[in-house]
Symmetry: C2
Subunit: 343 residues, 2 copies
Amino acid sequence: MSTKNDLFLRTARGEAVERPPVWLMRQAGRILPQYRAIRNRLSGFKELVETPELAAEVTIQPVDELGVDAAIIFSDILVIPEAMGLPYEMVEKRGPLFPQVIGSEADIKALKSGAFAAADLQYVYDAVALTRKQLDGRVPLIGFSGAPWTLLAYMVEGSGSKTFSKAKKLLYTNPGLAHQLLEKISETIIAYLKLKVQSGVQLVQIFDSWAGILSPEQYREFALPYIRAICEGITEVPVTVFSKGAWFVYEDLGQLDCQVIGLDWNTPPEVARQWVGDGKVLQGNLDPCQLYAAPEVIEKAAIKMLERFGRKHIANLGHGVYPDTPLEGVRAYVDTVKAYRYK
Amino acid sequence: MSTKNDLFLRTARGEAVERPPVWLMRQAGRILPQYRAIRNRLSGFKELVETPELAAEVTIQPVDELGVDAAIIFSDILVIPEAMGLPYEMVEKRGPLFPQVIGSEADIKALKSGAFAAADLQYVYDAVALTRKQLDGRVPLIGFSGAPWTLLAYMVEGSGSKTFSKAKKLLYTNPGLAHQLLEKISETIIAYLKLKVQSGVQLVQIFDSWAGILSPEQYREFALPYIRAICEGITEVPVTVFSKGAWFVYEDLGQLDCQVIGLDWNTPPEVARQWVGDGKVLQGNLDPCQLYAAPEVIEKAAIKMLERFGRKHIANLGHGVYPDTPLEGVRAYVDTVKAYRYK
């Protein structure tokens, strides 16, 4: 099945294109009335994640409604810990919660991993296959995973946190145990992403949402080697690495065997380009709060951003779109990028 | 009254010293059993802040117990919004909460500001005067304030937040209103810090705790000019600016009329020095989670950090010490710095 709008994939592969493609992290979500309508008649967030027909439906909504250049499969980064044996709950207005956490070597030994764990996530692969079928080649489909450090952070901390001090405490007090856990998580991520690719995703993105709370030394010891292994393990499709807040290791990220580097909104495009080098495509990075502004203000900000990035750029936000963002703001951004042409 | 251990002030003024001074953000707090004993018999956090005898007592505890080279007056950054007419509550395990928030021009007009607002904080000035008396010159006393943007963030958002999207929304949708509010906050901060200096603090530190969630453009428009005004307004004592997460404007911070720049733990000392220039003293920046490690591990990490900073350095953490940090870890850090000598 050929992809009719393959601008996103051509850009990710480094080909010369006429304009940057655009999509938004969390585009399948509460910003869309169609999403809220479905979500409101369900018992909870996990029902949506675990029901392939519903996941496919909300994945495609932003393609219909906003005309973005890529879809991203609706799911959650915490399906991996769950498949490894650590179930999560999604508590309304509080976020994720793990009733059990990892605290000892015995806990780690009890976890499933690799292909054995990944096999438990059939509902994701079914959702991917169904979405590809229903998209019918309109735009490419992105798959994703949390990065090993970010997943460890939730599995040890048990919930979101401003400091993730319990998770970081493990790195400082028992680095060997942390590496054992990261090893098992990484094997599972690779097996999971390979099955997602087999089911139809055409690029994978690694979300290291909590990269920015590590010191540079810790990032190089506990995060980077495992991301590198994933990049080297996934050879079938392009890979995007989004390490939020990790400006201090952008030179290292530039050396990864991946095609795209995601940027948060703090990072000036020129600085990122200098650190990452010319080899990678950059993705980002409008401040999600910019979309609260009036459409004409957003248009101006978007064009300024596009000109600062220049070529080898996938337009996105510097973080997931916030649930209360006005749809007209989102449209103003997407439409501005789509009307733009490189000189 | 002369200060017997004036190492901290000599370093802040840029004089050549034999070793870096050391103190910790949040050193007067839950890490100390003496603090917990006092706190547990009070009705709440605010009683401690508002009772000069108690505030003085907990301010001095870390000098007695840890032997740090400076004391910092026990207080809260949110006393300023309260003095301006916006009372805060401190909710156990949740953090600060403002029952009313700022949403309109009328709200801003209703706020008190400048010397008129600062006059309401007599309990702080009394605590400072009493602490200076009780310290009897053992170590210098630091005063502090939240930065204008960080205080605006709480006054508009109403509580802590991962994104402060309501506060940032104001900057994007009504920049004029944001500047009106920042103007009133800044006037109040300057008046407040001057009264603190008159009461006895010997250096003031500006905490811009939420600097890191602004884009570089927003930081330059909504944060930096007001911090500059404070630095220019406070000429009586040295000023430290700690803009957490604001790596992207360190070159601008280097141009401020202040003596010390605080660094978070993400920032490599060599990078900060290059960006800030040679004119400033740098303060920081061990990861607070490093203090969970064994004392011998902490000692090694501390010495490595001291060697990377070299001279013109005040040893501290990259963030406030976390409440569950073992006292032996804190001691290991303080003692290592105190035993260190520049070659």
